[in-house]
């Protein structure tokens, strides 16, 4: 045990500053009780009274050592002073030896403590610390492939997951200031309580970096807001899954793609954040296809669907439209189906392009249905430029689309055009908007070349009857 009244030095041989102070250890030992904790090689401080090898690094860990050398003054079992690196004045003050280190330079920075080596910190925390982890530990066989073990236990979406070892989960939890035991809410369909720890476990499996945790937590919280209707989004026979739209600086900071191939593959943040949300629904909520998830066809977005808006000053980003400050960071959840391309390479006026968008938006769900599914229109930079050059704001485009998409119901009635599907006869003679108020969202995203935009149809039970898009601020 290190001394409880006296001095403790923590050092390693593989540190030039530790070697610099090694000749001083004799003087420290002569002045009073001393423990020298050596992190790597017992040849260091050999022969100095009180020197010992901290082979497991337990003492270094318990003393919260960040640097070597570290000099600590203990009194009655409590730390009363600390110096790190070599600073002559500090060492003289902590040791009480006024002439310590005469002839040495005044200042030399130290090195990192071995307790902070990659992978070591989490292992030490698991072995000696209070991790706050409470999830059930699942032992797998020594010869069992951990990736296969996750498949065998039904934890995956069909693709391999990163096995959620305690070390990885601890690293993931370092990405948030929230406590592992904090409950975010009840995850449908089982209405199981979801802790920050469970989110971290599923984020590990999805392939997230710890820095994505605040985004994943916000996405899970948004999914649990009643208006989003996650239970119905999951259990419907229709196509949808929770799509995540990221706005604000935090998305850019962690690299959520809003540019080339924004709706496609190839970006870790996009792929893993959307997937983490889906794995939480699957594993914590119990929402598995073929069980409560009854989707007839589903959609590839149910693996993962996450992208960021490519924000520019001239067009109000989605989170600002939805009442948040521009500098805020948010996730917006939308019960999205698949991606339908809008190809218009000839329109050079906003009027023409808006008509193209309206014509394509008309087929969401079915050309003869209205006020059923919401939609997200993803406007590419090339298409956006047509509106910017004509001075059209995003709101003006939205209002023009709503105007173009409000049509007489007669042509859409059930039976009209020889198609049984359609609106109820009671709507005859009325003007009907395609989308309910608030049901058409517009975001700007995509690469810099291509006169193409995209429509992502929403669940045909959009609105208060099913799902309303929910925007949640990303905190910590």
């Amino acid at each position: 045990m290190p001394v409880t009244d006296g001095l403790i030095v923590i050092a390693k041989r593989d540190c030039p500053t530790c070697l610099l102070v090694e000749p001083l250890l004799g003087a420290l030992a002569a002045a009073g009780p001393l423990t020298v904790l050596v992190q790597d090689d017992p040849a260091y401080a050999a022969g100095v009274p009180g020197a010992e090898l901290d082979a497991t690094l337990e003492h270094s860990f318990r003393l919260n050592t960040e640097f070597v050398p570290t000099l600590i003054r203990m009194q009655g079992g409590r730390e009363v002073a600390r110096a790190y690196g070599w600073h002559r004045g500090d060492w003289r003050e902590v040791s009480g030896i006024a002439t310590l280190g005469e002839g040495l330079p005044e200042l030399r920075p130290g090195c990192a403590s071995k307790t902070l080596d990659p992978g070591v910190a989490e292992a030490l925390q698991l072995r000696f610390g209070n991790t706050g982890l409470t999830a059930r530990q699942v032992s797998i066989g020594d010869a069992e492939d951990p990736v296969e073990a996750c498949f065998a236990r039904g934890w995956t979406d069909g693709l391999p997951v990163v096995p959620p070892t305690p070390e990885r989960v601890l690293r993931m939890l370092a990405g948030t200031t929230r406590q592992p035991g904090e409950v975010l809410g009840l995850v449908p369909p089982d209405l199981a309580p979801c802790t920050v720890e469970k989110v971290a476990i599923n984020a590990v499996m999805a392939g997230c970096k710890p820095e994505y945790m605040p985004l994943v937590l916000a996405a899970v919280e948004a999914a649990l807001v009643d208006e989003f209707g996650m239970h119905g989004v999951l259990c419907t026979t229709m196509f949808c899954g929770p799509m995540v739209i990221v706005n604000g600086p935090l998305g850019r900071a962690v690299g959520v793609n809003s540019g080339v191939n924004a709706l496609g593959q190839g970006h870790r943040a996009n792929a893993s954040i959307g997937r983490a949300l889906q794995l939480v629904i699957r594993n914590v909520g119990g929402g598995r296809p073929g069980e409560v998830d009854r989707s007839t066809l589903g959609t590839p977005g149910k693996y993962s669907f996450c992208f960021a808006e490519n924000e520019i000053p001239e067009w109000e980003p989605l989170h600002v439209q939805r009442g948040f400050a521009r500098e805020a960071s948010t996730v917006t959840l939308f019960a999205g189906e698949g991606v339908q391309g809008v190809v218009d390479q000839k329109s050079r006026t906003p009027e023409s392009l808006a008509k193209s968008f309206a014509a394509c938006l008309r087929v969401v769900d079915h050309p003869k249905l209205a006020m059923a599914g919401d939609a997200v229109l993803v406007v590419s930079p090339d298409h956006c430029r047509v509106f910017l050059e004509a001075g059209w704001s995003k709101q003006r485009l939205h209002d023009e689309l709503m105007r173009l998409l409000t049509v007489p119901a007669d042509a859409l009635l059930a039976g009209a055009d020889g198609i049984a599907e359609g609106l109820p006869a009671a709507l005859a003679g009325k003007q009907i908007p395609k989308f309910r108020p608030g049901g058409l969202l517009i975001v700007r995203a995509g690469g810099g070349a291509g006169l193409f935009s995209a429509i992502i149809a929403g669940w045909a039970a959009s609105g208060s009857v099913g799902s309303i898009p929910v925007t949640q601020e990303i905190t910590a």
């Binding site: 698991l126 089982d190 476990i201």
Partner: protein, 94 residues
């Protein structure tokens, strides 16, 4: 990696419990049957017919309706159905 290998359970840790079905009644005589419309399209066609058939046998039929099929039935409705009936029939999907 810890040894032996340890993974943290990503699930809600609810052990699957095989729940036995409730015993089937020998007869519907003297029982009240709830007929629950979950607001799915054309569910009422099926439920109207089955209600008529049950009523024709002199069985008490109570009709209920969920506000939307996208959400579980409100707690109050579930409690009302349980309090007023011994059986429930619902039209689950279209």
């Amino acid at each position: 990696m810890t040894s032996p290998p340890i993974l943290l359970d990503p699930t809600s840790e609810r052990s699957p419990v095989a729940r036995a079905l409730s015993p089937r009644p020998d007869s519907l005589a003297g029982k009240s049957v709830a007929v629950l419309d979950i607001s799915k399209a054309r569910g009422d066609v099926f439920l109207d017919r089955i209600s008529a058939l049950l009523a024709g046998q002199g069985i008490t039929v109570n009709r209920y309706r969920k506000p939307t099929f996208t959400r579980p039935a409100p707690v109050a409705l579930r409690q009302q159905i349980a309090a007023e009936n011994q059986l429930v029939i619902e039209g689950l999907a279209d």
